[in-house]
Amino acid sequence: MLLHVCQQMIGYTDILTEADKAIGDGDHGIGMARGFEAVSQKLAAGSYASLDQLLKTAGMTLITSIGGAAGVVFGTWFRDGAKNLGGVTALDARVLAAWLADGLAAVKERGKAKPGEKTMVDALEPAAVTSSQVAAAPLDEALAAVTEAARTGMEATKDMIASVGRAKALGERSRSHPDPGAVSTYLILKSMWEYAAEVMAPGQ
């Protein structure tokens, strides 16, 4: 599944470049592409006994390959989100909820961004909240709801004025454009959902 996310995110480079050009410095697309390219190489290199090992490795790889604000932010989500996943080996809606909840907490702790400040937090928080509500549902249904929540949160960033990160400087000018990191957050979850629905579900 993570491999699919990597491929998708690399494919979204131009969309994210445009989003960051509009309110930032235009490097978000190449940064995410660089990061998920590195993750897919890491995955190819070794096999992982447990899911938390996999996510921690992926997170650390994002942190050490993306750079900029996004590297730490998204890497922290992936890595620290997995800190309470014990040795689980399969992803289900409950695991997803824990990963998003702990990831969100860690990102907020690290980045000091509050909801409404036009960051990826505005997409990740609704996703985490929804995820905890559908923790008993089948994974593909849960991811469908979580993705929709992230999308709504991402859309909402259009009406926000950036007060954190590079885009902060744009203040008023950032209005009416979505936050690039929020877009990435939505696209990451969307890719997971696609995979769960199209690849895993049929198999179950």
Binding site: G24, G26, T64, G67, G71, V72, V73
Partner: protein
């Protein structure tokens, strides 16, 4: 849309390739660290307080071009306009540390703070004392905590480098550098954008007849946009912002840096320098020295910044020290 015209190899390799070319200009006085985009001096004395600078690439000679004698001991390089990752900063930290702690000095950008802070935590786990000072010289970017680091950063690095080469403890170096930072003010003007090698795209658009005062090095918005104006009119406006901000007073002694953004000609910078000195003289401000050059660039961006640092005897002593680096050499 117009794309940038540049001679490069694979744009994804610009940083390591550029770093090789940069290290070579040091004739062995600096080396690149294996596996990470960082460079450090080869001759850091034992027991020296270390100065580490860094940030995104693409602003050459800033920051990495200011590693050298009586300047920074090392630099951590990110990709173009992207903060260096924590592992790069950590490796550089270990490489420059000589038992007296490390001062991180870099511009006030969210990405840099997130990455340098994470590295500082890792360094602490390894028993290395790290102190951090943010460069916030751009008066056009709002309240002090929001201010960005631009051209004046080079003056801060010079003072910090001199202090780190002279003083015995990290705390003393932090004090002197903080004083320098408190006394530096800059303002910029942009004519056109620089581009990111990997995308070939310019980071912002500005009409052919428009300039923007206070625009950031990545296109962050400034104080206002207006039509082209003559050098003297523009410099007068820019200095108004700086002078009233500190404020600089009659009798103050300063050093001046007129910094080019990349493709702005020396001719334009020198003419701007001429006016700057006229205005300072008219305000009874004494100029200790003026420096003109493209020290902090944004690829082929056009525009320039003016920076002033108010001096006292202590700061002057460090400013006057000889330095030798790719970006700035003085004796």
């Amino acid at each position: 849309m117009r794309k940038a015209k540049k001679i490069l190899n694979d744009p994804r390799n610009v940083v390591p390739e550029m770093l090789d070319g940069l290290v070579a200009t040091y004739n062995g006085r600096v080396r690149k660290l294996d596996g990470v985009n960082a460079m450090v001096r080869t001759d850091i004395p034992a027991g020296k307080v270390a100065l580490l600078i860094g940030g995104g690439s693409g602003h050459e000679p800033a920051y990495h071009g200011f590693v050298g004698d009586n300047m920074a001991d090392g630099a951590a390089l990110g990709n173009v306009f992207a903060a260096p990752t924590p592992d790069i900063v950590l490796e550089a930290t270990k490489a420059v540390h000589r038992g007296k702690g490390v001062l991180y000095l870099y511009g006030n950008y969210a990405g840099d703070i997130l990455n340098f802070d994470m590295a500082a935590e890792m360094a602490a786990e390894e028993g290395i004392e790290v102190r951090t000072l943010l460069i916030r010289d751009d008066v056009a970017s709002g309240p002090i905590e929001n201010r960005r680091g631009i051209g004046g950063a080079m003056l801060a690095v010079k003072i910090a480098g001199g202090a780190a080469a002279t003083l015995g403890t990290l705390a003393e170096v932090v004090d002197v550098t903080s004083k320098a930072l408190d006394n530096i003010r800059s303002i910029s003007v942009a004519l056109h954008a620089g581009s990111i090698p990997e995308t070939g795209q310019f980071t912002f658009e500005l009409a052919d007849d428009e300039i923007e005062i206070g625009m950031g090095v990545h296109g962050e918005p400034g104080v206002w946009r207006e039509k082209m104006v003559p050098t003297d009119t523009l410099v007068d406006k820019m200095l108004e912002f700086i002078l009233q901000d500190l404020p600089f007073k009659r009798g103050d002694e300063v050093c001046v840096l007129v910094n080019g953004a990349g493709s702005t000609t020396n001719m334009e910078l020198l003419i701007a320098n001429r006016r700057t000195l006229q205005v300072l003289a008219a305000n009874g401000i004494v100029v200790h020295e003026c420096v003109v050059g493209s020290l902090f660039t944004t690829q082929e961006m056009a525009g320039f910044s003016i920076s002033l640092m108010r001096l006292d005897d202590e700061l002057k002593r460090y400013y006057d020290m000889p330095i030798r680096s790719f970006g700035w050499t003085k004796w």
